[in-house]
């Protein structure tokens, strides 16, 4: 069955003892998207993914993959889905390739050729004969993704695939994910607690916290909603703050050493610079405040310093 919604959650809820880990979550992911599932630690990302994959039973609500209900049609739902939940785990006394042979059989029999293909794709070709016991964390992550690719999936679900990796390892995994989406045309559902990762990779995003969606939509649109903060260095410094506060569209000005941090509400950077120049100031530096996105994320997930 060809559907355009490849992943759907309806009112997904999981209650552990008394804690609501996931609370009435709705999700819809369309074919071809890279969908980011963003949330801080303990937000309920892994619990949601486990329910999506049928590892745990929802307390209420339902999950559908590729148009099949996961609870009632587990086999059909997972036939063309690859997944890694949390850290991928393997039979450590077997080699990477032997592990893939086992998972290939469980995936309905991907052949040797496919195994070599996915090993090549994740860049593990050279070490595939070594026991998994000897693999680094990054190699295991890549083997996990290779495993997810075995059934020639239409949808791949990855749970924090860059977690615990060094910057280079992170970049490798992100490049790999981007490549899968672009050249293999696989729909990707990816959880993360790193906003810039999602910003970099994803078309759409849902932000979760305490098991609930707190924001969702296209990444650019969400970013537009985030407060626009710029960093500015003007000379002379003395009256700059007072002057800037009077410009319409500037919501707040904060002095930060040599710099001024401006929260813009309507004002645009070119106009702002022009105003400063007419006002007799020399503009030495102007740029976006790097931490803004992270702060926005922390703000709406209630984990930040407070707006």
């Amino acid at each position: 069955m060809q559907t355009d919604t490849v992943l759907r959650a309806k009112g997904l809820t999981k209650v552990f003892k008394r804690r609501r880990a996931v609370d009435g979550l709705d999700l819809e992911v369309s074919r071809g998207e890279v969908f980011g599932f963003l949330g801080p630690n303990g937000a309920g990302k892994t619990t949601t993914i486990r329910m999506l994959l049928g590892l745990i039973r929802p307390s209420s609500g339902a999950a559908e993959l590729l148009g099949h209900n996961v609870a009632t049609h587990h086999k059909e739902a997972l036939q063309k889905v690859g997944a890694v939940v949390e850290t991928p785990c393997f039979y450590k006394h077997l080699s990477g390739r032997e592990n893939l042979e086992i998972f290939a059989r469980l995936s309905g029999g991907a052949g040797h050729q496919r195994i070599e293909e996915v090993l090549e794709l994740v860049g593990l070709g050279g070490r595939a004969g070594d026991k998994v016991r000897t693999y680094s964390h990054g190699m295991r992550q890549r083997l996990g993704i290779a495993q997810a690719l075995l059934p020639a999936p239409e949808l791949v679900i990855l749970d924090e695939p860059t977690d615990g990796l060094d910057p280079r390892g992170m970049k490798e995994i992100r490049d790999l994910v981007a490549r899968l989406a672009r050249t293999e045309e696989i729909t990707i559902f990816l959880s993360s607690h790193l906003l810039h990762e999602v910003e970099q990779l994803c078309d759409r995003v849902a932000i979760v916290d305490h098991g609930k969606t707190v924001a969702a939509g296209k990444v650019e649109e969400l970013l537009k909603q985030s407060p626009n903060v710029v960093r500015l260095r003007l000379e002379p410094q003395g009256d700059a703050g007072k002057f800037l506060r009077k410009i319409p569209g500037v919501a707040a000005v904060e002095e930060d050493g040599k710099f001024l941090r401006l929260r813009l509400a309507g004002a645009e950077v070119p106009g702002l610079v022009a105003e400063c120049v007419t006002g007799g100031f020399s503009v030495f530096e102007v740029g976006p405040e790097r931490d803004t996105l992270e702060e926005y994320f922390l703000d709406i997930t209630g984990g930040g310093k407070g707006a």
Binding site: R50, L53, G54, L55, I56, R57, H74, K75, E76, A77, L78, Q79, V81, A83, V85, E86, T87, P88, C89, F90, Y91, K92, H93, L94, I102, F103, R105, L106, S107, G108, Q147, P151
Partner: protein, 282 residues
């Protein structure tokens, strides 16, 4: 299904610790042969009252005798422990290692994974019992030779009695006894395996069944519990001994075997129900 079983077979038999059981079984056989080699068995039997009516010439110890004796003590706890060590690890071990979640996100039915794994536990039980029988028999043959099978009464908890089976019949009875002992160990494997499907660490699945049979065995030492004794599955673990009686009480043998089989199925079904419903959180 055969494919699922084959996978489990590869996974288990590629693991060194699987072979520990066979090493243990070999050791036990060596020990019993050494014990018999340096023990005056004839005198020992006379002490137990067996030989008051007979004059023993030579030793009754041979390959058949060794293979029969090796079932005696070890069946109480040692062999159950070996079986449980593997059966209890099959599901819980994978849960602890995290590979269970990797397996269960593939398009596989939990029921099939469960049954394939139990089939493997059964295979392992058969192999362990076969190894015990063959190793002890061969060692016995090399050290003592082969011949007729002498069954001392005390071995069957019958005083002032002994039985001598010609070699051919002795071998048949031995084979039957091993088959029944294996059948009893299936029940043990099923219990450990069922527990293994419900928890995330294999220690629990290995230790719980052993503690349980210990408790039941100690319990039935007290006359207070005589009434419930026949209803405990552990009381039927020594059904194989009946095969060495002069007249095999077949009705009782079948009843015990049926009772054990019922438990095997009951344990497995309960375990499957739990495994199918449980949340995989590791």
């Amino acid at each position: 299904m055969l494919e699922d079983y084959r996978l489990e077979f590869v996974k288990t038999f590629r693991r060194p610790r699987t072979y520990l059981g066979f090493v243990a079984v070999g050791l036990i056989s060596v020990l019993i042969v050494i014990a018999f080699r340096y023990m005056d068995v004839a005198t020992f039997l006379r002490h137990t009252g067996v030989s008051t009516f007979f004059t023993m010439v030579g030793s009754p110890v041979n390959a058949l005798f060794v293979a029969m004796s090796v079932l005696g003590g070890p069946m109480e706890l040692f062999i159950p422990a070996i079986v449980v060590l593997v059966a209890g690890d099959l599901l819980a071990g994978e849960a602890a290692e995290g590979t269970l979640k990797m397996v269960l996100v593939r398009p596989v039915q939990r029921t099939r994974v469960y049954l394939a794994k139990f089939a493997l536990a059964g295979t392992y039980t058969v192999l362990i019992m076969a190894a015990l029988g063959l190793i002890s028999f061969l060692l016995g043959a090399v050290v003592f030779g082969i011949g007729d099978l002498l069954v001392p009464g005390p071995f069957l908890l019958i005083n002032q009695w002994l039985n001598l089976f010609p070699m051919g019949e002795g071998l048949m009875r031995l084979a039957g006894a091993y088959a029944l002992a294996t059948w009893a160990m299936f029940t043990m494997a099923a219990l450990a395996f069922a527990i293994s499907g419900g928890i995330d660490n294999s220690n629990g699945a290995m230790i719980t069944p052993l503690v349980l049979i210990l408790i039941l065995k100690i319990m039935v030492l007290f006359p207070t519990f005589d009434g419930i004794r026949p209803y405990l599955f552990t009381s039927h673990f020594d059904l194989w001994k009946s095969l060495f009686m002069a007249e095999v009480p077949w009705r009782e043998v079948w009843r015990s075997a049926g009772y054990l089989g019922l438990h095997t199925v009951l344990f497995l079904a309960t375990g499957l129900l739990i495994f199918n419903r449980r949340d995989i959180l590791s």
